[in-house]
Symmetry: C2
Subunit: 355 residues, 2 copies
DNA sequence: TTGAAAGCGCTAACAG
DNA sequence: CTGTTAGCGCTTTCAA
């Protein structure tokens, strides 16, 4: 397993290491015959220059660190793939770290990336989604960002100037709500999302605003935050269905909760979308595969990753970048939403099902 | 962005770099007072030793390279997560490369990993799943494996001694087939999988064998390989349903094709599993979420990744390892399979639906 | 067109 | 307990 070095090549070619280096990098003219000899040797030994040694001089590793919470959540691989596509151009490669939502692990990985001198960091999920993030966790990020270019994806840290790329969740939820309202729904609930996360409050803000704009009442007892899992969507739909008086449509914090909500609604004998319209957020691949297919707000995850990588590269190249690059989400209307039932219908429906 | 070095710390502490190095690594006793002084400085400057420089000496990077075809296929993130969990122990971190099934890109990444001197490589998908792999692609792998410990996951390269960790696909398919046969199915088809890939032929071998073992005929016109996508499952189920004489159950090459097959069967008015039993392979998360939930063979992807990482670590530590570590898959019986209809029933069914 | 030598940041003898 | 020094593999002046 002994690796061959530039010295081995130089010795065998009877030249100095400088000359070998020159043919390796094309950094200065080399006599054609000695070049040939050296290239032959490189080929013969399958010689690959040691990137560590190079980086020690150049101060560049060609590595981008990615910190994300959970690769088995299909949203993240899409973001990652987008970033990777964009990185092809600049020849960057990725050090990928899953934190499983553990802040201590985030810190650990941040340190590792600092030690490995990655060229830049893409940070998504975890602490940057908190409404109130511990001051020392914030401070730590600021310190690292001073040494390594960093961009936050779909998150923020208060009182901080870190560069961000984010989907406009407020606008996205407005899209979803306007769709529901245009379908004639006047009784709309909200399901899922942890209250201490910004994504939840952003979406709830839009939820309330759109209701007010349409002159509809905001029924606080139909707002049921919880978490982001399918289980949570099931549970909260369960709670909603227990109420005598219930909505004809729900807006969910993400696709997982929306799918959970659909399942539970169907189990209780409701027809989706006829008896209950449900809209999600994210547009994960699963949204297409569920029956009925989910109407949802597309984050364009791949585009998000791509843009983040583009911005990070500008940062690395010391170009000037906007503090916030905002991406407009799009509504994908599919099968889980339909016009609200006529009042008389829904009246009799409620009587039957709650009787 | 100027990074501080061990020299900066040493100078400010008025000691030599060796002393700083000692407190960094606890490699020799240091007077308590000078240690304190140095630690304070390290804290103050948020100093992190440069891993490049360290690796240059130690010949270890703490990085494992992972080459896989497509992270947006949910099977791979699970394998990766398993490997990552196992790697926690040894403090390894991952360089992740998506090849999108492009062999040239595989070569490129192999070279990058060689240059970066990763401690080991995990290779999954792509060329190692080919029944006939180009000799130079094989040769290239062998050359790299001579310099860097490498383990192949769920694949193989002919006439090669590379270390492998793999699910026993043959055994898994036997499990699935025995399940169908025990349910009384006598007319069974096979859908999906590219013929030039080993996974397809392994599964087909088991498919044929189990039929012969049970004294059932192998109907070649019900064997419909194609690719691994949901689209492919739809298409081939379509083809199957056009036949006058069709099976009561199908064994699919993977979960995606199985789900596609289910969708098409349902669209054609069949009841799954009553009119048609369908079994998949892999047990991706989606298998739980589809209605009816998919009966499938679980590869235990996470365990696969974990085991591969364990084996790779042994290889790195120059321990002796088995050439092939085989994992036994398990059958997960869910809702997409049911007893075969009684002959009379199925007879009348065929007449009705083909009339 | 080529070689000698300094140095990137760190560790590890080897002397004190 | 601590400092000096020689590399690790490579690039890059500076001379020749």
């Amino acid at each position: 397993m002994k690796q061959v070095t530039i010295y081995d090549i130089a010795k065998e070619a009877k030249v100095s290491v400088a000359t070998v280096s020159r043919v390796l990098n094309g950094t200065a003219p080399v006599k054609i015959s000695t070049r040939a000899k050296i290239e032959a040797l490189i080929q013969k030994h399958q010689f690959q220059p040691n990137a560590m040694a190079r980086s020690l001089l150049s101060k560049e590793t060609g590595i981008i660190g990615v910190i994300l919470p959970d690769l088995t959540n299909p949203f993240f691989p899409e973001v990652f793939a987008g970033a990777e596509k964009e990185a092809q151009e600049s020849g960057h490669t990725f050090l990928l770290c899953n934190t499983m939502g553990d802040y201590a692990k985030e810190s650990e990985y941040l340190n590792i990336m600092q030690e490995k001198r990655v060229d830049g960091i893409l940070f998504i999920g975890g602490r940057i989604n908190l409404k109130e993030c511990e001051p020392d966790l914030v401070q730590e990020m600021v310190e690292h960002a001073k040494k390594i270019p960093m961009v936050l994806i779909n998150g923020n840290l208060r009182d901080t100037e870190l560069t961000r790329v984010a989907t406009d969740e407020y606008a996205g939820t407005m899209l979803a709500m306007r769709h529901l309202i245009e379908l004639g729904h006047k009784r709309i609930g909200f399901i899922g999302g942890e209250s201490h996360m910004t994504t939840t409050s952003n979406k709830l803000r839009a939820f309330r605003k759109s209701l007010r704009d349409a002159g509809l009442p905001v029924r606080e007892d139909w707002i049921l935050p919880d978490s982001f899992s399918m289980e949570s969507g099931k549970q909260q739909m369960e709670n909603l269905l227990e109420k005598k008086d219930r909505p004809t449509a729900v807006c969910c914090v993400n696709d997982f909760t929306a799918i959970g909500a659909i399942k539970t609604a169907i189990e209780h004998g409701l027809k989706v979308p006829d008896d209950m319209s449900i809209v999600g957020f994210d547009d994960i691949p699963l949204a297409h595969h569920v029956i009925p297919e989910l109407t949802t707000v597309s984050q364009q995850a791949s585009e998000l990753g791509r843009t983040a990588m583009k911005v990070l590269r500008q940062l690395i190249n010391k170009g000037k970048v906007k503090k916030l690059t905002s991406l407009e989400p799009q509504l994908a209307v599919r099968q889980s939403t339909a016009p609200a039932m006529m009042p008389s219908y829904s009246e009799s429906f409620r009587e039957i099902s709650s009787g």
